[in-house]
Symmetry: D2
Subunit: 184 residues, 4 copies
């Protein structure tokens, strides 16, 4: 099983990106292969429908999504919605790459939990013909602390991460039986 | 009365931008001052919350919104949502610039009418504490033809444009009595 | 100024209804006239588009909204949305009664704050051509305690109530100058 | 494979109900078992969280959903949202009955296609932990004609119905391999 994680923040040490990095660790501990697309480290340019050939970074992202069995999308919540940086990246994708795949939506918000961005994100995923995982994850306010090893300091958050990851890999195994990870 | 129009496409001759240019003509014919922010001609860079000072183009847009009495947002519909290019531009703004002002949402979509992007856009506007005009405008499919003078070729579309513009200026006059345009 | 408050719960002592009753007290203390429509005490029957004449209770509600200068809608959050009981009541209304009026959306939720129901409610209000107040109110979890006098026990909640009510009466005064309440 | 179809209109000969009845015919022609819950013929009472035991009709619906492998929800679009009658019925359900099951959302609207109600419905389904089918179906305006045999008169609509049904049974077979229908 191969998962692509797209981190949609454009801020250094963004909590949504830290959360996705921790999730990558958990996936790997479960023998799931991962590709990490960090839109801060390697931003993709503003999407222009007139351009026939996407640039190198956008191409890398498109290929990573195409090759993945499932997708994790992480975003800060700006104005009750996903970041423009993430939406811009998603504008490069289509149902060719996303269609039929399990998608997990994750947000991090300075205020209360970022349900508004997750709802908008799931509407976008449906439009791309992805299969939204009904389990999602939103960290708000003080739940957004990470230790030196990259794990959330709050035990409840760590458990919730495991739960949404298990739900995603379970859904992915059903949608793509060939991608099932052999149990150790 | 001063209106800022933000055209959220990054495509040459985008129909959502043509529509906003036509709307600008109609506003001017009604003695309303306008500022046009074209995110294709003058793209604003990817928003980064770490940057304390926005670049020149972003600053121009922020100031234009700040000085306006009302706002028109135009977007293509990508994946049932607004363009990443528009969302990225909105990420620079806050309730300081948008709060309490009338906002008109406009979309153009290759398929049927783009209600999904308008709904998401109004949720974003509310978050910025703008006052959403209940009249909005979405052009779908074949309604998106424009003549040599920049007007929509369809008479029904032209009438609808006048109606949403009148609704916006009426709402703006109520919210900001000092901005009222003297009747000729 | 005349406000109608519609309490969309069908539960005895629902916190969303207690909140609306407290809001009614605050409105009255500001010399604003109120009508209270409690869908628990006086439920309206399931809406049937074939019926030409609504029953007595539905007629009362329709008339109350028609005569009001502004509207407060209160709902519990069920499954990330407003109660069926409230949606059913709104199905009797049209832009004749709601159009152009300021509308305040309020929710109460057992879990975290009920942003999902408020977002859906504002999309419904826009469809009815109401003017959504960008200030809304959602009580979650432990914020939902009320004292013997009907006031929220949490001081922050009481202040927030005053703030959203002031925002609503201010918006209503602008949209309907004739409805302005004389300052004492 | 067993599918429950819930028709959320409260109007005689509602097009959303006619569409669901046609879908039931198509399911049966594919050897899929069906249960039809018609909220017009057999309305469920207004949901009251204080009642510990739902009435007979609500109990029938709850059991039908519980026993189904997948769910089809049909609704008219009222005010950009699902009918109060359908929302009220959904308020009786929980993730016990809906969780992990494939759900197809279908709407019928007098105006253009009813995307706004479908988006809200999918947000509700996610909250119930159902798996939204990314293929949905919305009939608008003149597409809503049915022949004497109950089929849509428009060939494109009939094909679209087959497509969304195939997508649903395919998704259901993946989520619940035991429910797979043997190929003839």
């Amino acid at each position: 099983m191969k998962i692509v994680l797209i981190a949609g923040s454009n801020r250094k040490n963004a909590t949504s990106t830290l959360l996705l990095k921790h999730m990558e660790d958990v996936f790997r501990s479960k023998n799931v292969e991962t590709t990490f697309v960090d839109l801060y480290d390697k931003p993709v340019p503003l999407y222009c429908p007139d351009d026939e050939t996407p640039d190198e970074r956008a191409s890398f992202m498109i290929r990573a999504v195409e090759e993945a069995d499932a997708i994790v999308l992480g975003t800060p919540e700006y104005h009750g919605s996903i970041s423009g940086v993430l939406k811009n990246a998603l504008d490069y994708l289509g149902s060719n790459e996303v269609g039929g795949k399990a998608v997990l939506s994750v947000s991090s918000s300075g205020g209360a939990v970022g349900v508004s961005s997750l709802t908008q994100l799931q509407a976008i995923v449906r439009n791309l013909h992805g299969i939204n995982s009904p389990e999602w994850l939103s960290l708000g306010g003080s739940a957004r602390q990470f230790g030196a090893d990259g794990s959330p300091t709050d035990a409840g958050v760590r458990q919730r991460v495991v739960r949404v990851i298990d739900a995603l890999t379970d859904l992915t195994s059903k949608l793509r039986p060939a991608a099932r990870v052999p149990q150790k």
